[in-house]
Every structure is written in structure tokens, then in C-alpha cells.
């Protein structure tokens, strides 16, 4: 371009990254080679370029050698590009006179032949040297941050994050799809390893959330759409009808016993189907908000509509309405509402679902009544559960005399879920303790490995051993009901290799508990798409960096916390929620973000006015100036994908940072080296 009257003076640096790069790439040789390329004024190799001295080196060289371009060959630009750009800027250059070469993730870590890897590093470095000569000075754009935060999911992660942010005086919108907040933790009886009661520590937090002046709880609601970008998102929320006026309901629950169903009749979701509820119900006594809900699928005042959905039939006597009296909170005409909210950042804390035990047919869940999932047992031992904490089997009266707890159901299994769910060992031991405490039964734990890496966890394991709980190392082959010996008659028989004793054993028990693993929510992929995040191969949301950015996603302004990022226990979940809240607060406190200036613009003189670019832009950033007969780009809307650039027939659209001459020179560069 015309403005390049100035002589190009490139400084090149190749990083050893300790031995991470140097072990596979001959760094001095790369430096020596690049030093011979035209435009390169100096070329150095250095042990750690990202360290302070490394960055200092760049700044010093810029000043001393009048460098006007900088290239660093080290790790992925997704990791350290900001570091080196800032060093370039501190050295007195425009930060976009910098380019980075990835010779670690894309080279030294993935190849095994030193000569080949070195040769590849040279090619990539040469491409960067070619490219950087064409770089132009650019300015970043500042965008202000809306100080309201959206938190999606109100389990312990969402609750903790919301409280942390709200306590700092910032507004939070907390969306929960169930009628109450609390998530899985609200269902637990005790928590490991301290055995403190889950309700005692969670429910006060829940009511604090419900009454917090800075938190708006949208329960029984789902986020359906997200538009915008970091600092300024527009979020669409679907408010599902609960047929109760949330403002009018005072939580007296008089309507519940008034229901025409004299006895609770329908499977109670909160109690994992072990208890019954009426069509009008509150999930559990401390539910937040303290507002009942009416289930149209079971309420007699609804019937099947023409489209298969439920419509009001008005056939019921509506004794509930009568009981509600002049509060008039019951509203059968309620319909789904769509609301929009403006927020600056988002914390996704959508949690997990438990593995469906039916997918492990050898263990007989669904076939044998006394095979339970761990979540069912949580409700069974819970004082506020369906049996008031009395552990009885499905017949409703007999207590188990012996219980087998099978670990790793739907974990560490290539046929289902390959990962370790992290919490099952500990919660199985917790349940073993509680079952023993409640019933005095013999308890057998069947495990592959006992994993107790947490504060106080190994001690808890010791406590269980002291209590006389059996630990049998072996993954259970099957649970059956056919007896070989008289004492097996009428029992569930567990066949397992006791791998430590070295025998195959048959162990008859009354009750089997399946320690089901944690897996991504059913709709995790939809949520991922909505927030423009990534998922790991197992389906949990992917953090930006496993160590250095564990609550960030690849989408700025979107953070993740809790088990939606991977299985984790309550302490880790809360820690992560706090971290996500801190990230959000840091962003809000800063007040603005700098946007990458990789936007596109149209060279007015060259545009032929064909308009073919206009429908290509997903952000409607391209407009047409009828007067001039030329297209132009609204920079504020452009997000820098370059799709219009790649398809412009007259080549009249230019993308900053990725313009044609930069890319062509890079192509030429990677191929110039033999």
C-alpha cells in the first residue's frame, strides 16, 4: 500500500518455553534462519519469552534497534497474543505491528521428528515475517459494559454467583427452569464429608436470594435467545405459565389441601417419584419463591387441546380457587410470556443430570423394585422426604437388612460415559453411612477405585472403614434374582469378583443402590449454541483454558460455573461460582472492553454496487447507500468474521488484521521454505 514508505524493521524472537519447544525444535537454528530473511533486523532465541525479562527484551530492542515490527514464535496466540501485543505497545509501537507464530501446540507438542519439527517452525516463522511486513497500525474500540448480570440456573452454583454479585451492589437476573430454585442440592439430606445438613446450609441462602433487592428471580422460566456481544447482551426469557399470579400468591398453600384430589396422586418429581403430590403443589416446604404451581397435565381443569397441548376445560369444581378466596392468585388463563432483558455478562450454571440407570441393564434398575438410584436414596434418608427419613423398601414397610452400593454406574465406562464423575465415591460413602445409621444394615460398597481427593475426604473413608462398612474392590457383573443357595432365595444377588481377595463372590442383599454418574444436561448442546460456547467431547461446557481461565469461555462475557463445566462436588462448585462472579465484577468494574479491530470496511471506489455481500452478513452490518450506489459497513455491528470479504466479487471489502495481502503473504511464506 501507498503508505509503506517507511523501511520495515522486524524483530524476531523464538521461545524455548523451557524444553516444551526446545526439546523438539532447534530454536537457535530457527533464529539463525529467520535472521537471514529480508526485513529482519534482529533474530533471537530465548528461554521464556512470556516472562518479564522476555517482554522487557522486546521493548528494549524496539527502542534500541528502531524495530517497527515484532514476531514471536512460541505458543498459541489464543494464550499469549495479548501478552506480546502489550509488550509491543509498551515498547512504543502500535500493538498490531505484532504477529505470533504457534510452534508449541501446532508443532513441538504434536510431532516426533526434530528435523521435521524444526523445518515446520522455520516455515511458520517465515510466513509470519512475510505477513507482519504488511501489518497496519489499528486502534481498538471501547465498548461499555452493562452492569446487570444474567445467571442461568439456580442451583448452588447460580445461587452463590448471584449472591456474590448482588452483594456488591450490582443487579442480577437469576433464571431457573423449575418452579423453585435450589437445584440438586436441595434434594440432598446431608453433605459429605462433614455430614452437615444440606437444607440447613442451603435454604437460608435460597431465601436470601428470594428477598435480595438486587436479585430478580425468574423461576419456572427458560432463556430462549441471546443476542449481542460482551457488555451488551439482549436475552429473551420464556416465562412458563404456572397458573398462579406470582404477585398475588402469598404462599399460604391453602389451595393445596383444598384440591379435589383428596389424596396426593401423582408422581412427585422433587422426590424422584417416590412420593405423591396433587396437581397444585409446592415442590418442597422451603421452596423459593414460596409460590405454588399448577401442573396442567394432571389438573382436572385442563384437557387435551387440538394441537396436543393442554387447554382449560373448566370442568373442575375449582375448590382451589375457592380456598384462595379474595387473594385471587389462581389464574387458569395464564399463557406463556416472552420477556427481554438487557445484560452485560452472563454466568451459565445449568448443572448436570444423573445417568439414567436403565442404560446399565445388567443392574436391573426398573426390573427389580428394590434397585434404587442414589438420588432416590437421598430422598429416602431425608427427614423431609416421602417417608420422613424412614428407610423402607418399595413395599412401603420392610427395612433392608443388607444393602449393596454399586459405584461407577454410568461412569468410567466406554459404552456409556467414559469419565469419572468425581462425586460418586464420596456420596456413596455418605449414603452408606446414613443407611447404616438409619437401619443398621450390612452395607457393601462395590468399587473400581476409591477416589477421595479432597479436604477431609480420606478421613471420611477411614471413618466408614471404622464403622464396619464392607468395601469390595470389583465392578459388579450383574444383579439378579435367581438363587443358588437357600439364603439367596427372595434376595437380589450381586455377582462380583472380589479382586483383592481373588474370588468370585455371590452376595445376596435386600436393596441395591446404583451410584449413578453425572452427565451433561439433556439440552446442553442447545444451551451451548445459544451462548456461543464450546463443549468438550463428553458434552460439558468447555472452559477457555483448563488452568488459567477455568470459568471463562471462548465467548467474552460468558462465564461458566458448577457441574455444567464438568462433574464436581459442592465445595468446588461454590468456589467456581465465586470465581465466575469475580470475573463478572472485574468486567463491570472496569466498565468497558476493548474490541479486536478485525472489522471489515468497503473500499468505496472499488465497490461495484452488486449488493451480493448484503444478505451474507448475519448481523445486518452491511448497508447500501442508494445515493452513491455503493455498499458500506456499519462498524459497530460488524463482528469481524470476514465472510463478506471472502465472497466480494470485486475484491473491494477489506478485513482489518486479515486483509488479502496479509494472508497471501502468509501463504507464500509457509510455502517458500523447502
Amino acid at each position: 500500500m501507498a503508505k509503506q514508505e517507511q523501511e520495515v524493521r522486524i524483530g524476531f524472537y523464538v521461545c524455548h518455553c523451557g524444553t516444551n519447544i526446545a526439546a523438539m525444535v532447534d530454536c537457535p537454528e530457527v533464529a539463525q534462519f529467520v535472521g537471514t530473511l529480508p526485513g529482519v533486523v534482529l533474530s533471537k532465541d530465548y528461554k521464556y519469552m512470556c516472562s518479564d525479562p522476555g517482554q522487557e527484551l522486546i521493548q528494549q530492542d524496539i527502542r534500541e534497534h528502531r524495530l517497527n515490527r515484532v514476531v514471536v514464535a512460541s505458543c498459541s496466540p489464543l494464550l499469549h497474543e495479548p501478552t506480546f501485543r502489550s509488550a509491543t505497545e509498551k515498547g512504543g509501537l502500535n500493538q498490531f505491528y505484532f504477529h505470533m507464530v504457534n510452534i508449541r501446540e501446532h508443532d513441538s507438542w504434536v510431532h516426533t521428528d526434530r528435523a521435521e519439527a524444526t523445518s515446520k517452525a522455520k516455515a511458520l516463522a517465515q510466513a509470519a515475517v512475510h505477513r507482519v511486513a504488511h501489518h497496519k497500525p489499528l486502534e481498538t474500540k471501547r465498548v461499555s459494559i452493562n452492569p446487570t448480570t444474567l445467571v442461568v440456573g439456580a442451583g448452588i452454583a447460580g445461587i452463590h454467583a448471584a449472591m456474590t454479585i448482588a452483594n456488591s451492589g450490582k443487579k442480577v437476573i437469576l433464571v431457573e427452569r423449575e418452579p423453585t430454585i435450589g437445584g440438586h442440592m436441595a434434594k440432598f439430606d446431608k453433605t459429605f464429608p462433614t455430614l452437615d445438613c444440606a437444607a440447613c446450609i442451603l435454604t437460608p441462602k435460597m431465601s436470601d436470594v428470594g428477598s435480595h433487592e438486587n436479585i430478580q428471580v425468574l423461576s419456572y422460566s427458560e432463556v430462549t435467545k441471546v443476542d449481542g456481544f460482551v457488555g451488551n447482551y439482549t436475552v429473551t426469557v420464556k416465562r412458563k405459565p404456572r397458573y398462579i399470579d406470582e404477585e398475588a400468591c402469598i404462599g399460604c398453600q391453602d389451595c393445596i389441601p383444598a384440591c379435589v384430589f383428596k389424596q396426593p396422586k401423582f408422581a412427585d418429581e422433587f422426590n424422584e417419584g417416590l412420593g405423591k403430590r396433587r396437581p397444585v403443589y409446592i415442590p418442597f416446604p422451603q421452596a423459593t419463591p414460596q409460590i405454588v404451581a399448577i401442573d396442567p397435565n394432571t389438573c382436572l381443569n385442563f384437557k387435551k387441546g387440538e394441537d396436543g397441548g393442554r387447554v382449560v376445560s373448566d370442568k373442575c369444581k375449582k375448590t382451589c380457587v375457592e380456598a384462595c378466596g379474595d387473594k385471587n392468585a389462581i389464574d387458569f388463563t395464564q399463557v406463556e410470556r416472552i420477556e427481554e432483558y438487557e445484560v452485560g455478562s452472563v454466568i451459565v450454571a445449568t448443572g448436570f443430570q444423573t445417568f439414567d440407570a436403565r442404560r446399565a441393564p445388567a443392574y436391573g434398575y426398573g426390573r427389580f423394585p428394590n434397585v434404587y438410584t442414589s438420588l432416590e436414596i437421598e430422598r429416602l434418608v431425608n427427614a423431609s422426604g416421602p417417608t420422613g427419613g424412614h428407610v423402607v423398601m418399595r413395599d412401603g414397610k420392610s427395612e433392608p437388612r443388607s444393602v449393596g452400593i454399586i459405584h461407577c454406574v454410568g461412569s468410567r465406562d466406554k459404552k456409556t460415559n467414559v469419565w469419572c464423575s468425581r462425586v460418586c465415591c464420596m456420596y456413596s460413602m455418605k449414603l452408606a453411612h446414613l443407611l447404616k445409621e438409619h437401619t443398621g444394615a450390612e452395607i457393601y460398597n462395590f468399587y473400581i477405585d476409591v477416589r477421595t481427593p479432597g479436604k477431609g475426604y480420606e478421613e471420611f473413608y477411614n471413618k466408614l472403614l471404622d464403622e464396619g462398612v464392607h468395601f469390595i474392590r470389583g465392578r459388579v457383573g450383574e444383579v439378579t434374582d435367581w438363587a443358588m443357595t437357600p439364603d439367596e432365595e427372595g434376595k437380589l444377588v450381586i455377582r462380583v469378583e472380589d479382586t483383592l481377595a481373588g474370588y468370585v463372590r455371590r452376595i445376596p442383599v435386600d436393596m441395591v443402590v446404583l451410584a449413578t454418574g453425572l452427565e451433561p444436561q439433556q439440552d446442553a448442546q442447545d444451551v451451548r449454541r445459544m451462548f456461543n460456547m464450546s463443549c468438550g467431547s463428553e458434552g460439558f461446557f468447555l472452559e477457555r483454558h483448563p488452568k488459567l481461565a477455568p470459568v471463562n469461555t471462548f465467548n467474552d462475557g460468558i462465564y461458566i460455573a458448577g457441574a455444567c463445566q464438568g462433574p464436581k462436588d459442592i465445595p468446588d462448585t461454590v468456589a467456581q461460582a465465586g470465581a465466575a462472579a469475580a470475573e463478572v465484577l472485574a468486567l463491570i468494574d472496569k466498565g468497558f472492553v476493548e474490541q479486536e479491530p478485525n472489522t471489515a470496511f468497503i473500499l468505496e471506489d472499488e465497490c461495484s454496487g452488486c449488493k451480493s455481500c448484503i444478505p451474507l452478513c448475519p448481523y445486518t452490518a452491511i448497508l447500501f447507500d442508494e445515493g452513491k450506489g455503493r455498499a458500506y459497513i456499519n462498524e459497530a455491528l460488524c463482528k469481524g468474521c470476514g465472510t463478506c470479504v471472502g465472497s466480494c466479487p470485486s475484491g473491494s471489502i477489506v478485513q482489518n488484521l486479515f486483509d488479502d495481502e496479509e494472508i497471501f503473504s502468509e501463504i507464500e511464506g509457509v510455502l517458500a521454505y523447502e
Binding site: 510431532h111 463443549c535 470476514g642 465472510t643 465472497s647 510455502l671
Partner: protein, 178 residues
């Protein structure tokens, strides 16, 4: 060339999915063939067919394009738009006698480091079997033919009317049909 020939691949990876997947392959220390040189773009939608042609003419034996899976594009649907262009380009390359295996499009998500490894290895092997594309050489040859034709014409016509350049153009067309 005294050195043993090895395939050279140029890859264009989108920043959000495939480039990240390649980073993941690195972090996971998966090993793959060293023949690929990755150029990072923000979106596969940025890929201009000219990039691919340029890479081939400058000596690449194959070009790999990596983008997000359908419906997963960070920019909504840049990958689709590139796909449309890609189909056209494939047809054109076919007409030029370039084997279809030499230009490959793959959807690789940020989680699929393993797929990066598999695709690069597969493609390297395929192209090793196909042999060098040798476009720079072919171009040089074409240039020489064109020049010699032009010289012949000039000699025949005595170079009177200064139409050497237009003569070369027609010659080029003819050569292109050979």
C-alpha cells in the same frame, strides 16, 4: 530436488473451532504428520477461493479447510457460506485436472483434537500416494510453451503489428486446452 519429496499441506482453520481443536491436539500431545502448515482466520467464511488457488500455485500439494460444525459457527453461518463457495471451487479444480482429494473440507469442533490428528494423517497419506501436484513447475512449463509459441508466431508474422501480447494470450488459451 535432491531431498526426498514430502507432501506439503496448507490448512486454513477458523479461530473458534478448528484452530482451537488443533491447540487441543497439542495440549493433549497427540502426534500427527508434520506436513501441515496452519493459517488462522477468524471464520472459515473468510476463505476466498483465491487463497486455495494461491496455495496450490505456490507449491502446496493439498489444502485443508477446517470450520465449525453446521449450526455451530461462531458467526452464525459463515461455514455454510464458505461451503457454497467450496462446492463451486471443487468443480473448477476438477476441470483443471486437480484430484478432488487435494482439497478437503472438514468440520472440526473445538473438542475434536483427535479429529485434527486423524484428518491430517489421512490427508497426508492420501496426498503422499497421489504424489506432488507440482503447480509451480507446471506453470513454468506453460510459460515456456507460451513463450516459444509466441516466438514462433512472431517469427512467422515478422512481428510487424506489435501484437505479440495478444498473440501470447491466444496461445495461452490454446495451451490451456491441451
Amino acid at each position: 530436488m535432491s531431498k526426498e519429496w514430502k507432501p506439503r499441506l496448507v490448512a486454513f482453520f477458523c479461530n473458534w473451532c478448528t484452530y482451537t481443536a488443533a491447540d487441543l491436539a497439542g495440549v493433549s500431545r497427540l502426534k500427527y504428520a508434520p506436513n501441515v502448515r496452519v493459517i488462522r482466520l477468524m471464520c472459515s467464511g473468510r476463505i476466498d477461493p483465491q487463497f486455495i488457488l494461491e496455495a496450490l500455485t505456490k507449491g502446496a500439494d493439498g489444502v485443508l479447510i477446517g470450520g465449525c460444525h453446521p449450526n455451530d459457527c461462531h458467526y452464525v453461518e459463515g461455514n455454510y457460506k464458505m461451503l457454497r463457495r467450496f462446492q463451486l471451487l471443487k468443480r473448477m479444480l476438477g476441470d483443471m485436472g486437480i484430484e478432488p482429494e487435494r482439497v478437503r473440507l472438514e468440520w472440526i469442533s473445538a473438542a475434536e483434537g483427535e479429529k485434527v490428528r486423524r484428518v491430517v494423517n489421512e490427508m497426508t497419506e492420501q496426498i503422499a500416494n497421489l504424489g506432488p501436484l507440482g503447480m509451480p513447475g507446471r506453470f513454468a512449463e506453460w510459460d515456456r510453451e507460451v513463450e516459444s509459441l509466441a516466438a514462433q508466431i512472431e517469427a512467422r508474422e515478422g512481428g510487424g503489428c506489435g501484437c505479440g501480447s495478444s498473440g501470447a494470450e491466444t496461445a495461452e488459451k490454446e495451451v490451456a486446452h491441451v
